[in-house]
Symmetry: C3
């Protein structure tokens, strides 16, 4: 888009060359074709060094810029508006079933549902009004998908999965795989056996849940693995069988929760953290990045970090232990010298 057209749409005025603009970017990251922004005179050096083709600046900016300038009342706000203009158009997913989709005749398809190419929906499944099921999705038997839930391509939902309304599942999400459960031991003749424990339960997802790409949530052994309403799960997260996430919580990328654990309301599990099985995390607790939680957290600590998980202060103490040790070593050396002196005197 021409800078002049963009300036007009943003209610600003263009100064300098009428360049072509394709994207937004911060002052440091921007490159040719980018629009950047600055409102604070203290960043003048970043403005002077930017490789952007144009920069949004406030009316009173008097330091110039090495590129075109679009003057607007509020550069931050204008940049967000520009980002919406530059954004790839959201693909239309009009109501209707693509002719290549294989939808069992017993499936109840709500009003205004979109089903994309090469998607397979097995018998007895119910798709709520306005649900969008994109291309190459697989939904097993007897699932329920709530109204307006949006499922991106190449998601799989095993039989019996229940999903609320207004959920978003990104590409590669796997719901309802068998939980990890085996009995093993030795038979009377000494030979080893490893026996699969049937995974008879389901996965149930509340309303307003978002699940990131390639995240996996296992079906319960018995009953349900439950993800409560408004929970937001990032990419590559693992949720074991019979886990219960009460709701309004966040689980960041590559974190994992082992079987039968309960996560309270309003928790935040940071990236790559791991939570053991059969424990409870109290409402509102945050588990820091890469933390390992072996035991229940009752909420007396609001934030834990490290493995085994502890307070920031305790982790800092471990990190500082070598310095403390060195200090004590010096003190002991000094004491030794004193004692030698005393021994000398006493002799």
């Amino acid at each position: 888009m021409k800078a002049s057209e963009l300036a007009e749409r943003l209610g600003g005025t263009l100064e300098g060359e009428d360049v072509d603009l394709v994207a937004c970017g911060g002052l440091e990251e921007a490159r040719a074709g980018d629009l950047s922004f600055c409102k604070d005179p203290k960043h003048v050096q970043l403005v002077q060094a930017t490789k952007a083709s144009a920069v949004l600046l406030p009316p009173d900016w008097d330091r110039g810029a090495p590129c075109a300038i679009i003057r607007v009342a509020d550069p931050n706000h204008a940049c967000m508006a520009a980002a919406r203009i530059f954004a790839p158009p959201e693909p239309a997913r009009a109501p209707g079933v693509h002719p290549t989709a294989i939808v069992d005749p017993s499936v109840k398809v709500g009003e205004g549902v979109h089903i994309g190419p090469y998607t397979v929906v097995e018998k007895g499944t119910v798709l709520g009004d306005g649900a969008v099921i994109e291309a190459q999705v697989w939904i097993g038997e007897g699932c329920t998908i709530g109204a307006r839930t949006h499922i991106y391509p190449q998601v799989t939902l095993r039989e019996g999965t229940k999903v609320g309304a207004d959920c978003i599942f990104h590409c590669g999400v796997r719901l309802g795989g068998d939980g990890y459960g085996f009995n093993n031991g030795r038979r009377e003749d000494g030979s080893v056996y490893i026996e699969k424990i049937p995974q008879l339960g389901i996965v149930e997802i509340g309303d307003g849940v978002e699940i990131g790409s390639n995240t996996t949530i296992d079906r319960a052994r018995i009953g349900r693995t439950y993800i409560g309403p408004m929970t937001k799960i990032d990419n590559l997260v693992q949720i074991g069988h019979n886990v219960k996430v009460k709701g309004y919580s966040g689980l960041i990328a590559q974190s994992g929760v082992a079987g039968s654990t309960e996560i309270g309301y309003g928790c935040l599990i940071w990236a790559q953290a791991g939570i053991s099985g059969h424990i409870k995390i109290a409402d509102g607790v945050q588990v820091g990045p890469q933390a390992g939680v072996p035991q229940s957290l009752d909420g007396s600590l609001k934030y834990v970090i490290g493995a085994p998980a502890m307070s920031m202060k305790d982790l800092a103490a471990i990190t500082l232990a070598p310095k403390m040790v060195a200090k004590l070593k010096a003190e002991i050396k000094a004491l030794k010298a004193e004692i030698e002196k005393l021994n000398g005197k006493g002799a």
Copy 2:
């Protein structure tokens, strides 16, 4: 299902309202529509607080319940039986090739094989008797799939992959991707090069192996990446090129094994653990959650934890170091006081 019908199927007797029941659940997790169970009088408070609609109780239970009661001889056993009744029906995967499956004419399809919709099987592949290949699977050229192996939707097997009998691969499993291998350095003119090392080997999977959702196992650089019989792999696990897992081992979710490492028989690698490349883990060793193993483990430690991996005792000592330091500091202070006294006396 009506509680009365369920009671009859479980050989028990119903007391109270003939409620509708849909699932099993523990006393604490259960909600309206659930059947719970209790056999031990010491859990009487959990029974009194349960939100289940019915509870399985033993014949001699005399503490009542806040919901319908189904009396049975063995509540635990009856609950397992009820779970099987409530479980989503296992989808039938009748023998036959779906008309939309694209199976190369050269593929050898065994007796009773099921191939689902939109699955692609390339030339020269062999599918053993009774194999179930579900929807949207992709199997490359020259693969071998053993008898009764069950492949869930959206699994991919690159060319040459060999799979034993009675395996289960969950959705999103990726076998045979190129291993991570590059040569890099500087050319005579100073420019940097990064060159792909051809990954010429395959993945070979023994009998009875289960692999969880979205797990990835790379093809060997030369020869085979090998997963021995009865190994059970959880979700989101990464196995590098030329790894050898001898067999009868478990690898829990999000763990990773780097290239050319050997895992002995009967090992257990816990969640999020990482094992370096080119080392050996002796038979029967357990690697704890989030442990990082930089060197071979000869079995003298049966369980390791921490990073670098060590004994539980050694990890505890590191965690306790700050307390020990504080104690020593106090002792040094006391000694100082003593010495000052002595100096005073000596003066």
Copy 3:
């Protein structure tokens, strides 16, 4: 292949039985049907214990072998050549669009492009000359794929993704999923809200980038998530929104980079490492396996390890702290004894 035929193709001579050979393998891993190799007499015991069916040995080897021998000038080199002979044939991906592929009429398909079965390419996308898009791939609207880029089955590219030339994406790669971004707080009435922040940017991938199986890279909030040229990413890696990887770097399996972080040129991020958001890693820095990096690294340390990330020396000091503490404890005990003696004397 018969050992005699292989010997001829390798320019060597066969001694012993004309066995059938199917694969290469190291002396210890090899089994019946395998060809192994040895050039160094110091490994004579491994040769004597090998289960290979044949072994490549140099002309002057006089220690025999428990299997057939193929004598060649350079056993290592001959083994690589044999590996190429044994390797599964690289599947032909001839130019052409499979009749089941759904390619929007507006898509610009370059010369010699291959599009496999059940692949979907949406409107406005551009596929460069010689690109290979395998089976069951999904490419959204307005994407650009560079010349000769090879996309394996079941990859998904969300709308607007830009990919350079000569890239390789392995099965299950997810590009352009929404970044993890939510505003939350409490409304005036005390109720909690969690609001999705629109993710308006794209993913842009430079030339020569390889991305491993099931790796996920999120689209930018605004602007681009950028992976620079020749970057090599392993399996199950997570890259957050607005991350910038300058180029010529490696990210090993299961590592993760949080939003808006910049990774310099020539960095190496080892397996399971985690890098926080909004920081910068200087050119050439290596982040060790499982390391957790909370702050920018300016390059004064070339290698960091541990969490929080530190030098090898600092991590070793923490690990050794318990030993140091025990030593100090002994010294303090000795000092106490000395002081007691002095007190005795002084009395």
